[in-house]
């Protein structure tokens, strides 16, 4: 039997078994199971906005339920602004912010944060960089003072820069051993082509190329009050905090340098192809499907989110039930929508042992086609709606995750009202609408497929689907 023929058989069997399973898989609910109660509405936190005269936006989300306060300083301009030659300068900039100010050494900053019960962390995202600390409530004003000092008076000491740069290079070196990192990096590069969104993280070359002067000029360009947001969430007195921050932050002046420019809308590249990155010795294939998706704020986002939950966003969804619970091919298989400012990236990720790599791909293809061509059951839609609302309720349980949510909304030019709008829109989604939106987007030909693994073992298994294949270096 040739490989091709065998594969046809596999695909055929895959279709049949999955359809049979789908038909069998509507088990009766236990007769004694009590009914649901009435679901209480989940309200988004009340956020008050204040704008300082220099353009800095303050968002306050007070909540006295827990005696800590989260601060997040967000600036526009993330890794998309680095340029391929300096990919990673964002991470160096972020890592230098706590390394010394006109008033404090790096050690002093760390000690003051520790004393407040906090630590310093940053997150370099596609469209922005956020800096956060979570401190005990009685130390909130001190933490605000410290954060204001770091944002405005950072001195970028040379000796600390060497250490930060070395740490970043080592971190990237270490990351390259991880299959998930390799898959993600390759997928972004292939899907976004030359668009700045193709930069998935810093690179060793980009970090090596970045001098302290580069970091300083990025600081001047990106650290401007008119393109920054400061979020304060948790147990604090809004009035007192507002007057404290107004005093501390009003002297922050925007430079005359260019602000962050706008980027073109990304288009997808390399779709409908399978790329293999050889990782000798791998005992699993790390697979990522990626395509452009519908982003938050789009009128079709709710239907896309419901469709995603049904497809691969929840454990009772189709991918998990089929690939894991029926076939035992994977421990981890999920799909998700990651919204950025200019587009969303829709991904399916799975880790499967070498010998079932082709079989798992077959099931993923099958489920993609099923989403595109048939409407989900009303049962699936209701379940996805309630799951998504329950997940929102979970996100809003803690002030720090509220602050994270507000950070992503602001980077997409949205605000907290979006949370209530989305909850309402999720409940309005119909099975018909899910099919309509899936029909437009869920096609194998729309995806870039990357598999990182033992190429000599998985190549033949992946060659049978009629898609173009390339090996990556």
């Amino acid at each position: 039997v040739s490989v091709k023929k065998l594969a046809t058989l596999v695909i055929f069997l895959g279709l049949v078994s999955s359809i049979l399973n789908a038909a069998q898989k509507e088990p009766q609910l236990p007769k004694d199971l009590p009914p649901f109660g009435e679901m209480k509405p989940v309200q988004a936190p009340l956020v008050t906005e204040k704008k300082l005269t220099n353009g800095l936006t303050l968002w306050f989300a007070p909540n006295a339920a827990f005696p800590k306060v989260t601060f997040v300083l967000v600036i526009k301009g993330g890794i998309e602004q680095d340029g391929v030659d300096h990919a990673g300068v964002s991470e160096l900039l972020a890592g230098m912010l706590n390394q010394g100010t006109k008033n404090r050494t790096a050690k002093r900053i760390a000690e003051e944060l520790q004393n407040a019960g906090g630590s310093f962390s940053y997150w370099v995202d596609t469209d922005g960089i956020s800096f956060s600390t979570i401190v005990l409530s009685e130390m909130a004003l001190d933490a605000a003072t410290l954060l204001a000092d770091m944002a405005q008076n950072c001195t970028f000491p040379e000796n600390e820069f060497e250490i930060v740069k070395k740490k970043n290079l080592d971190y990237l070196e270490a990351s390259e051993a991880e299959p998930g990192f390799l898959t993600g990096r390759a997928s972004y590069k292939l899907l976004f082509g030359d668009h700045p969104y193709s930069i998935y993280s810093g690179t060793k070359e980009g970090v090596t190329n970045s001098s302290l002067n580069d970091v300083k000029s990025e600081y001047v360009r990106r650290f401007r009050p008119d393109q920054a947001l400061l979020i304060v969430a948790g147990d604090f007195d809004s009035k007192e905090m507002e007057s404290h921050l107004t005093k501390l932050m009003s002297s922050w002046k925007a430079s005359k340098e260019n602000a962050i420019g706008s980027l073109p809308i990304p288009e997808s590249h390399n779709t409908g192809k399978v790329f293999i990155l050889n990782r000798p010795g791998s005992v699993q294939s790390t697979i990522q499907f990626s395509r452009l998706g519908i982003k938050r704020g789009d009128p079709e986002y709710a239907a896309s989110e419901v469709g995603n939950a049904i497809f691969g966003g929840m454990s009772s969804g189709r991918l998990f039930q089929n690939v894991r619970e029926e076939k035992g091919y994977a421990y981890s298989i999920w799909s998700r929508i990651n919204s950025e400012n200019l587009s969303a990236i829709y991904t399916i990720k799975a880790n499967v042992r070498n010998e079932v790599t082709g079989g798992a791909m077959n099931e993923i293809f099958y489920e993609i086609n099923r989403m595109a061509t048939t409407a989900p059951s009303n049962d699936e839609v209701t379940r996805a709606q309630r799951y998504l609302l329950g997940y929102r309720a979970f996100l809003l349980q803690s002030s720090s995750s509220v602050a994270d949510e507000l950070t992503s909304l602001w980077l997409m030019n949205l605000n907290s009202e979006q949370l209530n709008r989305e909850s309402k829109e999720i409940l309005e989604v119909t099975a018909h609408k899910v099919k309509e939106v899936s029909g437009k987007s869920q096609a194998v030909q729309n995806y870039v497929v990357v598999a990182v693994g033992e190429e000599k073992v998985i190549r033949d298994q992946l060659s049978v689907f009629g898609l173009k294949m390339e090996s990556l270096k």
Partner: protein, 453 residues
């Protein structure tokens, strides 16, 4: 109803205290024991229209039988595979239809099943979890399926990753001499494959009894509702005889243990150092937790300042007590005080260890300043509060403190206990436990063979 009134007479403790300063912050804790031995804990919190529940059983990896490494975790997977009343797949569907998130995890001395959901599904969740405690649907098909899934999990988290979890799996193998403490808790594939349906049944019968479990609930409910409904759904499950906890203590360590390993995937070397900790119930155990904070936590920590900023021999440092699979409170047997250090230059392993040792001997020779101690206490308290913020992590902390200390209100005492620790306590802990003869070191270095193939 008669049963219910009787059980109200059993232990009932209520604590309520909210105050403006975070220093006096406490969470409410109430506990009740049902006649079948099931301990029920509740923490009222109306800050979100949700609740979380942990059904926590007093069995973990440590006590899985010889020849069955990884079985406690495999068993955890089996509990999601349906019951005689609830076919496979129904649990996921019902929980998620109610807006719930659910999962389970296995640790050294307990297995925890949790759900976070809107309060509207409280009854359904209780019904489903009680149904599981009543009995599972054991089939060969489900066992085969979950062996495959667990083996994929081990590949994903261990076999296909750089470092392969050496800083817990291998470190405890090297540091301990007896099976319960030294075996691979994730499981050897040979042992996972050997597991039978009879093993599954036996494990369930032995350990998944109401008298070996704690149910902890936190969230937007009333204590009356929680206690009466848990009673309603779980009260009829009979108590069973649970095997007494065996002695899992180790023969004393007599000298430093060292090992060098090669890693197929890693590009940077790493060193793990594990010191045997004193008993969890000793006061020294808590001192160890604070010492770990002084050494590992943040950019003002001793190891960060020495290894990364001063000597520049390391790239990253982390660690803790009962780390990374737990904290200083949620275990019941031997555990390690672990440091994990990533570094760049394989030839500098000895230099790194010398620098590490100089940090330890500095702590042994000179007492920490009042300022440094105060900062570390604040950070410890702040981190501990974070464990109690979300209903799901609060319920988990309540369940494990009830399981191991018999007292959920311990969660409110930890900040005070930390406050009592003195510079002398820290110095004597370091002198007594952070010594060479009490430690194991594994140096894991990249093996580039893979690239040449």
């Amino acid at each position: 109803m008669k049963l219910f009134i009787l059980t109200l007479l059993v232990l009932l403790v209520v604590q309520f205290s909210f105050a403006a300063s975070s220093k006096d912050w406490k969470v409410p804790t109430e506990i009740k024991k049902l006649p079948n031995g099931l301990r029920v804990v509740f923490s009222e919190d109306h800050s979100s229209p949700t609740f979380a529940i942990c059904i926590t059983y007093g069995i973990g990896f440590r006590l899985e039988p010889e020849g069955r490494t990884g079985f406690a975790h495999l068993f955890e997977h089996m509990t999601f595979q349906g019951t005689p009343n609830t076919p496979k797949g129904v649990l996921d569907k019902v929980v998620q239809s109610g807006g719930g998130l659910h999962d389970g995890y296995t640790r050294s001395d307990f297995t925890n099943y949790f759900v976070n959901a809107p309060t509207s599904s409280f009854d359904q969740i209780l019904w489903l979890e009680a149904d599981i405690m009543k009995g599972l649907d054991f089939t060969d098909e489900n066992l085969r399926n979950q062996k495959d899934v667990v083996e994929e999990e081990v590949r994903l988290n261990v076999l296909n990753q750089p470092y392969g979890g050496f800083y817990w799996i291998d470190l405890q193998r090297k540091a301990y001499d007896t099976f319960p403490n030294s075996h691979n808790w994730y499981g050897d594939f040979k042992d996972l494959e050997a597991a039978t349906l009879d093993d599954v049944k036996k494990f369930f019968e032995q350990y998944y009894a109401p008298n070996n479990a704690v149910i902890a609930v936190a969230g937007d409910l009333s204590s009356e509702e929680v206690f009466s409904k848990v009673e309603k759904y779980f009260g009829s499950i009979p108590a069973r005889k649970v095997p007494p906890l065996p002695n899992v203590s180790e023969p004393p360590q007599t000298g430093e243990r060292r090992e060098t390993q090669k890693d197929n995937f890693a590009k940077l070397p790493a060193i793990a150092i594990g010191y045997r900790m004193p008993s969890r119930t000793s006061r020294d155990s808590l001192v160890g937790a604070l010492v770990s904070n002084l050494l590992h936590d943040g950019e003002s920590s001793r190891l960060y300042l020495k290894l990364i900023k001063d000597a520049k021999v390391a790239t990253d440092v982390s660690g803790g007590v009962n780390w990374p699979l737990g904290n200083a409170f949620d275990f019941n047997g031997p555990t390690l005080f672990t440091s994990l250090v990533f570094y760049a230059d394989v030839t500098k392993a000895e230099e790194l260890i010398q620098n590490y040792d100089s940090v330890i001997s500095e702590l042994a020779q000179n007492q920490v300043s009042a300022e440094e101690l105060s900062r570390a206490r604040n950070k410890f308290r702040s981190d501990w509060y974070a464990e109690l913020e979300r209903p799901i992590s609060r319920a988990s902390a309540l369940a494990t403190t009830t399981l191991f200390d018999g007292d959920p209100s311990r969660v409110n005492k930890i900040a005070d206990e930390i406050k009592q620790i003195t510079p002398q306590d820290i110095q004597s802990f370091v002198k007594r436990y952070l010594v060479q003869s009490n430690r194991t070191i594994i140096n894991r270095i990249p093996d580039n063979k893979g690239e040449k193939q």
